[in-house]
């Protein structure tokens, strides 16, 4: 009972404390962008002419249906990350989509219209080779899945297995493809590398082997890469060593027929492996007898196999991409060819736009179809086109119309309609954001003028008054212009008023709530995104980025130094190092220093060079330090301050943490070293505090009016270790608090019977971490707070070298009823606002948990003093309330990181959650105390004021009359 009362009390407090989203605020300050990842398979839903669905299966283990008119998602299914959710194949028939997932472990059928699962069957283990729909007598009712050692056939309607057969000699023969020509047979093609092809023909009815043939093919090792089935079951293989095409009738022949390319009058590029592409419009029918042969990176040929003779229908040179598409009875071939176009724009600049034109050709004749040209403009900041997905449809006059979805190297999807109108683009690179920064927007001209007035030295009263008046005039002018614009816009219909956001008209708003998000994606594409609307302002694609590279993004110069453009530095560990002006998205003119050695550590110093760029120190693996920019001025400043520059290095493979000091000659000296034995535990990560964090109050006022001072060490590092022994009884996680300058271990805590993954937030004087308790099988939060005690040792300045007293450590743990994806603390301008911890949950919600709940001083027994302090009584379980979800029903999949940035308003913190989706919003941890709420009732207050005014007027009159009457009496 007492517990219940406590809980009620707690709820009461929560109700008073916590801010939630109001329903009318939906979409007002927040936006979400949903992504699917790099597309691996795509199918247009062609069962109905009016269907608008594009099915995509991606490398991020996502299966989704896009709206082909708008590019938005109809539905999306996010599977487990890693190989178990990997999508191996996507087959599409009528309104079912068949997916093979997890190296052939699961076969799923999805209902395309609803987005729900029809059925799901588990297949026997074995590595997946190929899957194909099997047709019989004009209908498709089965799907065949080929694995390393067996083949199984399932019904499309319910997934039940029709038959399963072991493959003959599966130890020696590498079976690679399954093919069905719609005649009641299933053909399995296997290869013994450098020897022969094995063809096994199964009967569709009962899985009986009808025929087994071996064909000599010593040059062949990979069937899917070099062979296709064309026409009446004829296997066509391209051999790059002899530069020939080899044909084999799968039903009759036992010998390959070699047709040298030269005999067709063709010549392949010397070091290019020719490849083939065929098209089977329907699994119940045989493939087309026309096929593409790619002879070079920019050369395609449309060929036809006619009674064993190969006929060249058309030679496409140059051609970047080619693809078949079928609608109704007609099959067309779409070919993309480069088209270099020079556009001159009002004599100022010549823009070289690399454009491509796409044309349709009749597949059976190779004739170009009239009026089918479509222009695709290649984004100069993007990548080259990589894949062409064509949606063909019959127009009213029975001619073929089409739309294309072009996939480029930078994972962009562009959907184009004739004659080149871009219907939508999707930047799928944003599905994998690695790191981001939020940067202030620059001031406008008028704002800068006003700022300048205060910056300059005073020169006489009169001129200052004049200046004041002139700036006031400018403000008035701007205001009138603004009013005029409002008025002008109000007259126009709503649809026409489009706030065109571009780099040129972006400027800081009153409270600095609008910022630019600079995002780095794993594909090497950089984005500048407006935080208010989510519009992409600029993008920049860096090709040839290694897939496992680690990125670091640093703001070297903010917008505060007006004539100098703002500058971000983008560091790609160990390889190269690029610096760019983020505001225009282009690279800067500053040449980055050549880095002969890999970089171990990079630090941003508060020092600035004469151009107000912060100094970046790079430490290479020889422990040599280089500065960037490295002008004389900077080096001199560095020499002066070298004695106070310390840095640390982490070597997690050897479990070593070491601290270094900078010498005046820019060499380094080791100061301390902490070795954590790698046999017992490994360092998971090391977390310092955020450099831009402010702490407003030095201490906490206790119930008895004394002050408990916080231990605010800016050099404190939280080191998290996990035990190497994963046994549930012996596993543990450790947390070490180390001073980064002196190497002094401030505190060490070990959580027994605990396991990772550990998530840590380190801020102010506290560390919050979350782990898995193996004993109770639940997630637990633990909080450590450090206090100096009742008096401060040196209240003016903190020095790691001069702190004799060890801080007091308080710790408390709680149960958390969900697992979490990531965690971050809110951040505000001056640190007055109370803190919340933002927790990304696997369910897609972002929980804003007040730090009040994670306070080691929460008492078990409420006393007068604890009530005075507003401490919530201790309860072992933290509650998740959906009202605390800052993203209400806009769930964010696979949150990988949460970025928080302060705004110009102390109450407001900007939040960006990124993962598969990107979600941006604002949070007010202590409610909006410094600005009128957005639902502020102006009507009410003005009506009350007016009412009062009139009431006074009337009562004044009445009083006068009364006085007069009294005087007459």
């Amino acid at each position: 009972m007492a517990k219940l009362i406590l809980l009620l009390l707690e709820l009461c407090i929560i109700f008073c404390v916590v801010h939630a989203v109001f329903e009318d605020q939906v979409g007002k300050f927040d936006w979400r962008q949903q992504y699917v990842g790099k597309v691996r398979f795509s199918h247009f839903d062609t069962q109905m002419q009016s269907s608008k669905k594009v099915l995509v299966a991606t490398e991020s283990n996502v299966f989704a249906a896009l709206n082909s008119r708008t590019g938005e998602l109809f539905w999306r299914h996010v599977d487990k990350t890693g190989p178990e959710g990997n999508i191996d194949a996507l087959l599409h028939h009528a309104q079912d989509a068949i997916l093979v997932v997890g190296n052939g472990r699961v076969l799923r059928s999805w209902d395309v219209n609803i987005g729900g699962l029809n059925w799901e069957v588990l297949l026997d283990s074995g590595s997946f080779r190929s899957a194909s729909l099997v047709g019989q007598q004009g209908t498709v009712k089965h799907v065949a899945v080929l694995k390393k050692a067996f083949i199984s056939v399932h019904y499309l309607s319910n997934g039940h297995q029709k038959w399963i057969e072991n493959l003959p000699d599966s130890e020696t023969v590498d079976y690679q493809t399954v093919y069905s020509g719609g005649n009641g047979h299933v053909l399995v093609l296997g290869v013994v590398p450098h020897s022969h092809i094995t063809i096994v023909v199964y009967s569709m009815e009962d899985g009986e082997i009808i025929k087994q043939v071996s064909v000599e093919a010593p040059w062949l090792s990979n069937i899917p890469a070099s062979c296709v089935v064309v026409g009446q079951g004829i296997l066509m293989c391209a051999d790059s060593t002899t530069m020939s095409l080899n044909t084999l009738d799968l039903h009759q022949q036992t010998q390959m027929t070699q047709i040298p390319l030269q005999s067709l009058g063709l010549e392949a590029d010397p070091d290019f492996h020719p490849s083939l592409m065929s098209h089977q419009p329907n699994a119940a029918q045989k493939p087309l007898s026309e096929f593409f042969l790619q002879l070079g990176p920019e050369r395609y040929l449309l060929l036809q196999l006619n009674n064993g003779q190969i006929v060249t229908l058309r030679d496409f040179n140059p051609a970047l991409l080619a693809s078949f598409a079928t609608t109704g009875e007609k099959t067309v071939a779409a070919v993309m060819s480069p088209k270099n176009k020079t556009v001159s724009k009002s004599q100022i600049s010549l823009l070289f736009l690399d454009a491509c034109s796409i044309n349709l050709f009749s597949a059976d004749t190779g004739r170009r179809l009239l009026d089918t040209t479509l222009i695709f403009t290649v984004d100069p900041n993007g990548g080259k086109p990589e894949k062409l997905h064509v949606q063909a449809f019959l127009k009213k006059d029975d001619s073929v119309g089409y739309r294309v979805m072009v996939q480029t190297e930078d994972q962009t999807l562009t959907f184009i309609q004739q004659p080149g109108r871009v219907m939508w683009t999707r930047e799928e690179a944003l599905s994998d954001v690695v790191t981001m920064e939020m940067v202030d927007l620059p001031l406008t001209g008028t704002q800068a003028e006003l700022e300048g007035e205060f910056g300059k030295k005073a020169d006489g009263l009169f001129s200052m008054v004049l200046k004041r008046l002139s700036s006031q005039l400018i403000m008035l002018q701007a205001w009138i212009a603004h009013l005029w614009k409002l008025f002008y816009d109000a007259r126009k219909p709503r649809s026409q008023v489009k706030n065109d956001i571009s780099i040129d008209n972006l400027s800081r708003d009153e409270f600095n709530l609008q910022k630019m998000m600079v995002m780095v994606t794993s594909s090497g594409k950089l984005f500048g995104i407006d935080s208010k609307t989510g519009a992409i302002l600029w993008k920049h694609y860096l090709d040839n980025i290694p897939s496992n590279a680690a990125f670091k993004l640093m703001v070297q110069r903010t917008t505060a130094h007006f004539p100098h453009p703002p500058q971000c530095t983008f560091l790609l560990t160990e390889i190269l190092y690029i610096s760019f002006f983020f505001f225009f998205g282009g690279r800067s003119q500053v040449t980055p220093p050549a880095l002969p050695q890999p970089i171990l550590q990079s630090l941003m110093l508060p020092l600035m060079d004469q151009d107000y760029a912060k100094v970046l120190l790079l430490v290479d693996d020889q422990y040599k330090v280089s500065a960037f920019p490295s002008t004389k001025n900077v080096l001199q400043q560095l020499q002066e301050t070298a004695s106070s520059i310390f840095f640390f290095l982490v070597d997690s493979s050897q479990g070593r943490l070491s601290g270094y000091r900078l010498r005046t000659d820019l060499s380094t000296e080791q100061v301390w070293e902490v070795v954590i034995p790698t046999e017992v535990q490994k360092i998971v990560f090391v977390k310092g505090k955020r450099p831009n964090e402010h702490v407003h109050s030095q201490g906490r006022v206790m119930g008895d009016r004394s002050v408990l001072y916080k231990y605010l060490n800016p050099n404190l590092l939280a080191v998290v270790t996990e035990s190497t022994d994963m046994h549930q009884e012996r596993s543990f996680i450790g947390i070490l608090l180390i001073d980064g300058v002196t190497g002094r271990i401030i505190h060490e805590a070990v959580q027994r019977k605990a396991r990772g993954p550990v998530h840590v937030v380190h801020s102010e004087n506290w560390v919050v971490y979350e782990y898995w308790s193996t004993k109770s099988r639940r997630k637990e939060f633990s909080v450590i707070e450090l206090y100096e005690g009742m008096e401060l040792y040196n209240s003016t300045v903190f020095s790691s070298l001069d702190r004799p007293h060890a801080p007091q450590v308080l710790q408390q743990s709680y149960i958390f009823p969900s697992s979490i994806s990531t965690m971050e603390a809110t951040l505000t301008e001056k640190g007055i606002t109370s803190r919340h911890i933002l927790i990304g949950l696997p369910s897609g919600g972002i929980l804003s948990l007040p730090k009040m709940f994670l306070d080691p001083r929460r008492p078990e027994i409420i006393t007068e003093q604890s009530r005075e302090e507003n401490l919530i009584p201790y309860a072992p379980e933290l509650i998740i309330r959906t009202e605390w979800f800052i993203n209400y029903n806009q769930s964010v999949s696979r949150v990988r990181g949460i970025y928080t940035a302060p705004s110009g308003l102390e109450s407001t913190c900007l939040v960006v959650a990124y993962g598969l989706d990107i979600y941006q919003t604002r949070v007010y941890p202590s409610k909006q105390f410094d600005v009128l709420k957005d639902d502020y009732d102006y009507m009410l207050i003005s009506s009350v004021l007016f009412a009062l005014f009139f009431a006074t007027m009337i009562s004044k009159r009445l009083a006068e009359v009364k006085l007069l009457n009294r005087a007459w009496r």
Binding site: A20, H77, G115, G116, L117, Q728, R777, E877, S955, A959
Partner: protein, 240 residues
């Protein structure tokens, strides 16, 4: 505080031990199986069905997922609301059906090394308490998620029911209405009233406060203004 936390833990563990003993007969499926299973052990399948009363399954299954122990194992819902999560080794797991619109209670599922299944209520504090749930799982939505706080709306009733306003309005009513109800012309009544007034004012020499006030502010309209403004400022104060 640390000490206290430890004590609490100790108490908890003792409690769990107690519960452990009490439900010993059921314990072969218990948490001991945990995560200590061999990697090559058998894999099992958790099956069940999620129901949102009164809503067609087509309308919500496309946004739903079944999560087992965070995102460790993921399952999807069939068009009839049933689901299966495959390839789960024996152990004890918390299974959740997540959708952005409807709320489902999580369920703990225990799987023995032989593949026997048991579902029970999730209790993070007493982790070994067993309150059986049906298996195959039947998870019923307990309503839509409530994400939003209600805005404080301003209505006349709120204003009138404000205690301060009540305190002001009621005396006003009495002052206005009472003289009309009570017949003041009746001499008896007048006498009675005078008496009661004298009772209230024990010292007749002392000047009446109201009289004093009228004298002070006579000639100026101050009194009426002050009164009305104090009345009016209340709603403003309330809004902030």
């Amino acid at each position: 505080m640390l000490q206290r936390g430890k004590l609490q833990l100790l108490w908890l563990s003792m409690h769990t031990a107690l519960v452990l003993v009490s439900c010993f007969t059921d314990m072969e499926t218990g948490p001991g199986a945990g995560l200590s299973t061999q990697p090559n052990g058998d894999k099992f399948k958790i099956e069940g069905r999620a129901i949102v009363p009164g809503v067609k399954t087509q309308d919500w299954v496309s946004t739903a997922r079944v999560l087992v122990e965070g995102e460790e194992y993921v399952g999807f819902l069939r068009t009839d609301g049933s689901f299966a999560v495959n390839d789960i080794p024996s152990g004890s797991y918390v299974l959740e059906v997540v959708t952005p619109t409807y709320r489902f209670e999580p369920v703990r599922v225990d799987i023995t090394s032989k593949g026997k299944m048991r579902a029970r209520l999730v209790n993070y504090i007493k982790t070994s308490e067993v309150i059986r749930q049906p298996y195959p799982l039947q998870i019923r939505a307990s309503g839509p998620h409530s994400y939003f706080m209600k805005r404080e709306t301003w209505g006349w009733t709120d204003f009138l029911m404000n205690p301060m306003v009540m305190m002001m309005v009621l005396p006003l009513l009495i002052i206005v209405l009472l003289p009309k109800v009570v017949n003041t012309n009746d001499p008896e009544m007048r006498k009675e009233m005078e008496q009661s007034m004298n009772m209230l004012n024990p010292n007749p020499e002392l000047p009446d406060v109201s009289e004093l006030m009228t004298k002070l502010f006579s000639g100026s309209k101050g009194s009426s203004k002050a009164g009305s403004s104090s009345k009016g400022s209340r709603p403003v104060a309330k809004r902030r």
